[in-house]
């Protein structure tokens, strides 16, 4: 149980897909102009990565290693199509807001990377938690970006005004330059955080 928890946990900070591994940045910047978009995208990615990890793990003994990458891609593309169709049917407004980036989940490096590095070598249980953890880390990253950008850029949270009218929204945060600059500082913050926690561990003599 503890092992599974550790697998789940490492995706959140130590190997956070966005800020530490710097994988799949396109959606992290493109859809985070509001919290609701970030949430939907994060959940979609979390779903795709977890299901795909399970499928890859279940079929790992049947699939010939020579054709594994095309198989992974087909599997991811199928799951993404399912997500697309569901969103189209039940949440058309969100589907429109995410637009092309939803289809782009197919080519997210993080999903293929987890399939290749983890799920193709492990049993279903650990693969499931690995996908869940990585997806959750991704979701948290998106939410962090989305919250900061929406708060500073529009003064709202989930579309509800939270900062009084004295605040003049900094439009740049919702536009592209704000996204780049913000993620630059968050990456730096994560670097400091990880270095600090390593130092603490070293002092305690855990490493």
């Amino acid at each position: 149980m503890r092992e599974l928890w550790n697998i789940f946990k490492k995706g959140i900070i130590e190997e956070n897909p966005i800020f530490v591994l710097a994988l799949s940045l396109c959606p992290a910047l493109a859809v985070t102009s509001s919290v609701i978009n970030s949430l939907t995208m994060g959940l979609a990615v979390m779903f795709v990565i977890t299901v795909n990890n399970c499928i890859v793990s279940i079929t790992r003994k049947i699939v010939n290693p020579k054709v594994r990458v095309p198989v992974y891609i087909t599997s991811v593309a199928t799951i993404v199509t399912v997500v697309q169709l569901v969103l189209q049917a039940y949440l058309p407004a969100l589907n429109k807001a995410l637009g092309i980036y939803l289809a782009l989940i197919v080519v997210f490096a993080i999903i293929l990377a987890r399939a290749e590095v983890f799920a193709s070598k492990n049993k279903v249980g650990p693969s499931f938690f690995d996908g869940l953890g990585m997806g959750f880390g991704f979701l948290l990253g998106l939410l962090l970006l989305g919250t900061i950008r929406e708060l500073l850029g529009a003064g709202t949270f989930f579309g509800i005004k939270v900062i009084g009218s004295w605040y003049n929204p900094a439009l740049i945060m919702v536009l592209s330059p704000g996204a780049f600059i913000l993620i630059g500082y968050i990456v730096a913050g994560f670097k400091i955080l990880i270095k600090h926690s390593e130092k603490v561990k070293l002092e305690r003599g855990e490493i």
Binding site: C26, L29, A77, T81, L104, P177, I181, Y185, V187
Partner: protein
């Protein structure tokens, strides 16, 4: 003619795929450390994107649409592009080894990349004609090349600069890209698209 030029300019400058649409960021940050490499990958992306969006257009309009299979677009396009890039790599390796040595390694990098994959999708979404989608793909490729060459030259200069330790590497690269995006924002509204 004017219409195509507008489309080209809009994709290169106003709606730059990297800096305003956030596509192809992985290679944008990964390869922009040296100027030579960035020119190589710019060429590779432009040519692959043009060829693959032409093929995607043909497949979409002659296979997917007549048979009402448009819901399979995502699956078909990603497989089409990935296999096409593999094939291209083999052909270039066999018939043009010099070219392969120059930018063969980048081909694999872009086999499943969001910028290459997104252009055919955008073309389909906008209902472009064959010529329009080819022009838009060329524009997207040139825009990518412009952005990555600018970025690479900035990062080469940056090596001599004194950057705070925690911002080193990726952090400062992001902020730099933000500044570039800010500059490109100045073009917005220039062409009504």
């Amino acid at each position: 003619m004017g219409h195509y030029l507008t489309l080209l300019a809009s994709n290169v400058i106003v709606n730059n795929f990297v800096l305003t649409r956030f596509l192809g960021l992985c290679i944008f940050f990964g390869v922009s450390k040296s100027l030579n490499a960035s020119i190589g990958i710019g060429m590779a992306v432009t040519s692959v994107m043009t060829l693959s969006s032409m093929m995607a257009w043909l497949v979409y309009h002659f296979v997917l649409e007549p048979f009402h299979l448009t819901f399979l677009t995502t699956v078909v396009f990603v497989l089409l592009i990935a296999s096409f890039v593999q094939l291209l790599e083999m052909i270039i390796k066999k018939y043009a080894p010099t070219l392969y040595n120059m930018w063969g390694i980048y081909l694999l990098l872009i086999a499943t990349n969001c910028i290459v994959f997104s252009v055919p999708l955008i073309n389909v979404q906008n209902n472009y004609s064959f010529l329009e989608s080819t022009v838009s793909a060329v524009g997207a490729g040139l825009g990518f090349m412009l952005a990555i060459v600018l970025m690479a030259s900035l990062r080469e200069k940056l090596r001599l600069a004194d950057v705070p330790k925690s911002l080193e590497g990726l952090g400062v690269a992001f902020i730099l890209a933000g500044m570039l995006a800010l500059a490109f924002l100045g073009f917005s509204g220039m062409i009504p698209v």
